[in-house]
């Protein structure tokens, strides 16, 4: 009787640990396949040519992804410009100015926004925002603009990233001890001054985390941008001109690329992967620093 129990216990432990090994196995497999398939192409093209070449024209044998790297950075920056002010201010509104009912409604809306599939955002951007952007460019006197580009990409990504920023900022603000707020007001500061000078700095790390996560999302987003960036691998002349970023480049050509072209696309994936790894690693370091600091 006792033996049977022991065996079952041992068996269970083995099963559980095997399951845990699975995630390690998964990430190792992903790394192996990305590197094994991506490095050869980078070798053939030459890492300097690959990372810093500004012409991407596979049929002419040119594989420079600088325009895409720049594109990813532009779009991520634009996304933050849109989402951080709106997100943090909305979080302030939710925590400090909204009644219970409005707060509940807002939170439901934010939840749904978070759940909307990225392709629908792309669709919305393509049909509504791009023509609008094109007109805007014309009004502003920018010539040759197609409407697709950084402007629309940033707005769409910004909306997509809002729920992350808002929710984390709300949590961060709510975690600031009430005594801070009460102490500041008791000293004579009006509500707004307290928020800006006391609460927000105290919530800094949570807000900062939300920004990092939002950036991570912005760097990796694909489908929403595939429909609104214009997909032309060039340095855009304005925020209303067609351009491309790393993720969209992969999606655009992956299904039909062959040979070196195919391998080059995997290399782009590798670059993106390393980008993101560096990113999360820095986040961890910062978090550790904050804990110790």
């Amino acid at each position: 009787m006792k033996d049977k129990k022991l065996i079952t216990e041992k068996l269970a432990k083995i099963i559980f640990i095997t399951a845990a090994v699975f995630s390690i196995a998964a990430i190792i497999t992903i790394c192996i396949f990305l590197f094994a398939n991506g490095i050869p192409a980078i070798r053939k093209i030459g890492i300097i040519n690959f990372l810093f070449g500004s012409v991407w024209n596979p049929s002419a044998g040119k594989y420079g992804i600088l325009t895409m790297i720049v594109g990813t950075i532009y779009v991520a920056a634009g996304c933050l410009i849109v989402s951080v002010p709106v997100g943090v201010l909305t979080a302030v509104c939710i925590t400090k100015y909204c009644g219970k009912k409005i707060k509940a409604v807002l939170e439901q809306i934010i939840n749904i926004l978070a759940g909307i599939p990225s392709i629908i955002y792309g669709f919305f951007g393509m049909i509504i925002l791009v023509p609008f952007a094109k007109e805007l460019a014309y009004i502003l006197g920018i010539s040759g603009a197609s409407g697709s580009g950084i402007f629309v990409g940033s707005i769409i990504l910004g909306i997509m990233v809002l729920p992350t920023i808002i929710n984390l900022s709300v949590t961060a603000i709510e975690n600031v001890p009430k005594s801070y707020f009460e102490g500041s007001t008791a000293l004579g500061a009006i509500k707004e001054r307290t928020i800006v000078k006391v609460i927000l700095p105290a919530a800094k790390s949570g807000i900062f985390t939300s920004i990092i996560l939002g950036t991570g999302r912005a760097i990796g987003e694909t489908m929403a941008l595939a429909l609104v960036l214009g997909n032309s691998a060039t340095f855009p002349k304005s925020i209303f001109h067609s351009m491309e970023n790393l993720t969209v480049a992969i999606v655009k050509e992956l299904s039909y690329a062959e040979g070196l072209h195919y391998e080059a696309l995997i290399s782009i994936g590798l670059v993106l992967f390393v980008f993101i790894l560096i990113f999360s690693f820095s986040l961890k370091l910062i978090k550790k620093g904050n804990k110790n600091g």
């Binding site: 002419a60 007109e135 001109h241 299904s255 039909y256």
Partner: protein, 295 residues
């Protein structure tokens, strides 16, 4: 409160204003719409119009939108009054307008006679060994049968007749009631008619599943070569350098130049098309506004 309302109103007015300015203006820039590098239509277009350089590389102007499918081009041209694009002549819809090229409208008749210069074949390609499989051989036979030819003509393409490349076209098809799965991949220009052909074939052979994936002629070629698809479809001719796959021609199709229905222009020359699409610095005076077509 007042401030909020005024800001919102201003925003709405701007949006409304943007939506309302959809009149065609010949003095505004042409929005150049192209296809992505997988497209057979693009290759046929660039060859016919002279956009390929000596190394067969594309000289498309930078900043032109490179869309991934026929449908996307149609949508873009529908939405943008200043746009110009190119698609398969058989896929022209009422929502857009086809320009006459050097005075000739792209119709089945003008393509067949050769009067409409921008044309290319639709082909299905496959490894020679594929025809060793009874189901695939039957499907290939079906694509040349009278049933298929009628469908192709009905859809607005030029169907083949008699004997072409040692294959007979227009014979009656009788079902052999085989079953199995056929994977077809490739051109978004051939895709629509292939879907209809596949549907007809399935009606006659109920045990068959046909998967048609439309992702560009380039993929049709690479997947047929790799064996991941049984048949590839391309909207350009198979290059003679390709020795691992063989072709069966499906139809002849033209490349139509499309513009928005509000566009007041109706004719264009090959030189003008080239001048609109070509990159800078290739020794060709660029055309950037519609009004320059009057010159």
């Amino acid at each position: 409160m007042k401030k909020i309302i005024s800001i919102l109103v201003a925003a709405l007015v701007m949006i409304g204003f943007a939506g309302c300015t959809t009149k065609f203006d010949a003095d505004r820039e042409i929005t150049v719409i192209a296809r992505d590098s997988a497209s057979g239509t693009r290759e046929a277009f660039e060859k016919a119009v002279g956009l390929e350089d000596s190394n067969k590389a594309s000289m498309l102007k930078s900043g032109a939108e490179e869309l991934a499918a026929t449908g996307a081009v149609i949508e873009k041209v529908k939405a943008d009054v200043q746009a110009i694009g190119y698609i398969s002549a058989g896929l022209i819809t009422k929502e857009i307008k086809a320009l006459t090229v050097e005075g000739v409208l792209p119709t089945a008749a003008t393509i067949k006679s050769g009067a409409y210069a921008l044309q290319r074949p639709f082909v299905v390609i496959y490894k020679p060994a594929t025809l060793g499989n009874a189901l695939f051989a039957d499907f290939e036979k079906f694509l040349r049968s009278k049933t298929a030819v009628d469908i192709i003509a009905e859809e607005g393409f030029v169907a083949l007749e008699g004997t072409v490349n040692e294959k007979a076209y227009g014979e009656t098809y009788t079902t052999s009631n085989l079953s199995g799965t056929i994977n077809v991949e490739g051109s978004t220009s051939v895709g629509p008619v292939m879907e209809i052909l596949a549907e007809e074939y399935k009606k006659l052979n109920s045990g068959v599943t046909i998967n048609v994936t439309q992702n560009g002629s380039g993929n049709g070629l690479s997947s047929a070569k790799a064996g991941t698809s049984d048949f590839g479809m391309m909207s350009k001719d198979l290059s003679s350098d390709e020795t691992t796959v063989v072709k069966t021609q499906l139809a002849i199709d033209g490349v139509a130049i499309i513009v928005n229905t509000k566009n007041t222009y109706s004719n264009i020359t090959k030189e003008q098309i080239k001048a609109i699409y070509i990159a800078e610095g290739k020794g060709v005076t660029l055309i950037t506004k519609w009004s320059e077509l009057d010159a």
